[in-house]
């Protein structure tokens, strides 16, 4: 049951016929995990908290660094040195005390990801390295958890939503990660600060639509965005029968760490 104050807080949601009181209750009952509390994770966490998603998990082992603040809008200058998940939790709870935030100050790995995602309805990939992106895909496909993939670089981004067993997964398009250091990371190649705001907000929209059960999810489509050309494109996809994790004869039947792909964007040079 919504309180008077909640009816006021969510009034702009509740008047939408696709949401209403019932939809707002579904958001309250929803459990979403954000992996990565950085560029993508920042707008995702802020919007999901503001929207009243009842339980939000956020996973990241890193601390806030000065070079993060150009794009990671959930972290403020006085947060430098603080664990990112703590900095994020403070802002999310300040926006909306209704929301329960659970923090995981760790990198996801084959050893812990199964237990972490088990508690959630929808997972969002806001990570910055291929090892994590492939791990999240495999874990979500194997556990049948719907999830949103997001990737950014320089002025370009891409995102797609995966409903395991129903729609194309990340490995349907990219069967294996590229070799370590083959593709530049944000720290090497740069990223325009507003870019993760656009992509992360789309990912948060997918989580909200999934919880509401309304509209069409970004499945079987890769949405690409070029900030320089100010152009969105949609590339139609379908499940790949040769996919190593969701195809007809999968070779990946349990999660594994893609050690060859392990690079972390924001790790400072030694």
């Amino acid at each position: 049951m919504l309180t008077e104050e909640q009816i006021e807080r969510y009034s702009r949601h509740i008047i939408l016929k696709e949401v209403g009181g019932k939809g707002q209750q579904r958001l309250f009952d929803g459990r979403v995990l954000i992996i990565g509390a950085g560029g993508l994770g920042a707008p995702i966490a802020l919007y999901l908290a503001a929207a009243g998603v009842g339980a939000i998990g956020i996973a990241d082992a890193d601390d806030v660094d000065l070079s993060n603040l150009q794009r990671q809008v959930i972290h403020f200058t006085p947060d430098i040195g603080k664990p990112k998940v703590e900095s994020a939790r403070e802002k999310m709870e300040a926006i909306n005390p209704d929301v329960k935030v659970r923090t995981y100050k760790e990198w996801v790995s084959a050893a812990n990801i199964g237990a972490i995602i088990a508690d959630y309805d929808f997972i969002i990939d806001g990570t910055d390295n291929f090892a994590a992106k492939f791990l999240i895909n495999d874990a979500c496909v194997l556990a049948r958890k719907p999830y949103s993939h997001g990737g950014i670089l320089q002025f370009d981004g891409q995102t797609m939503t995966v409903r395991p067993g129903e729609s194309a997964c990340y490995r349907c398009i990219f069967p294996e990660p590229p070799p370590k250091d083959a593709i530049p990371t944000c720290s090497q190649a740069g990223v325009i600060g507003v870019l993760p705001g656009v992509l992360g907000t789309i990912q948060a929209t997918e989580a909200i639509k999934f919880l509401l059960g309304k509209g069409d999810l970004l499945t079987n489509r890769l949405l690409t965005y070029s900030a320089l050309r100010m152009r969105f494109r949609e590339i139609p996809l379908k499940r790949n029968t040769a996919c190593p994790v969701c195809g007809d004869n999968p070779t990946i039947t349990e999660v594994r760490d893609e050690l060859d792909a392990l690079t972390v964007c924001d790790l400072k040079a030694p």
């Binding site: 990565g36 509390a37 950085g38 560029g39 993508l40 994770g41 990241d60 890193d62 993060n68 990671q72 990939d125 806001g126 990570t127 910055d128 390295n129 291929f130 992106k133 997001g150 990737g151 950014i152 670089l153 370009d156 981004g157 891409q158 349907c172 398009i173 990219f174 590229p178 083959a182 593709i183 990371t185 944000c186 990223v191 993760p196 890769l222 494109r233 590339i235 139609p236 996809l237 379908k238 790949n240 040769a242 690079t263 964007c265 924001d266």
Partner: protein
């Protein structure tokens, strides 16, 4: 002949020997060694790049790795 590359109709010189592999080189496609190629709606296995001809009217999408996020 004309093909569609990433949504754009593109004229390329006639060349019966052209394969997906040689097209990637000809167009100097970025991430050439890792890019995923979707040909007429189907993801093409990398092993087939060298033997798959490019025909007029083909619809080709290059799908790039983007690993950033934080």
């Amino acid at each position: 002949m004309n093909i569609t590359i990433n949504g754009k109709e593109t004229a390329i010189p006639e060349n019966p020997d052209r394969t997906i592999d040689s097209l990637l080189e000809e167009l100097d496609v970025s991430q050439r060694l890792y890019v995923t190629v979707e040909l007429n709606g189907e993801i093409l296995e990398r092993e087939a790049f060298g033997t798959t001809p490019v025909n007029g009217g083909d619809v080709i999408e290059f799908l790039y790795f983007m690993g950033g996020g934080r």
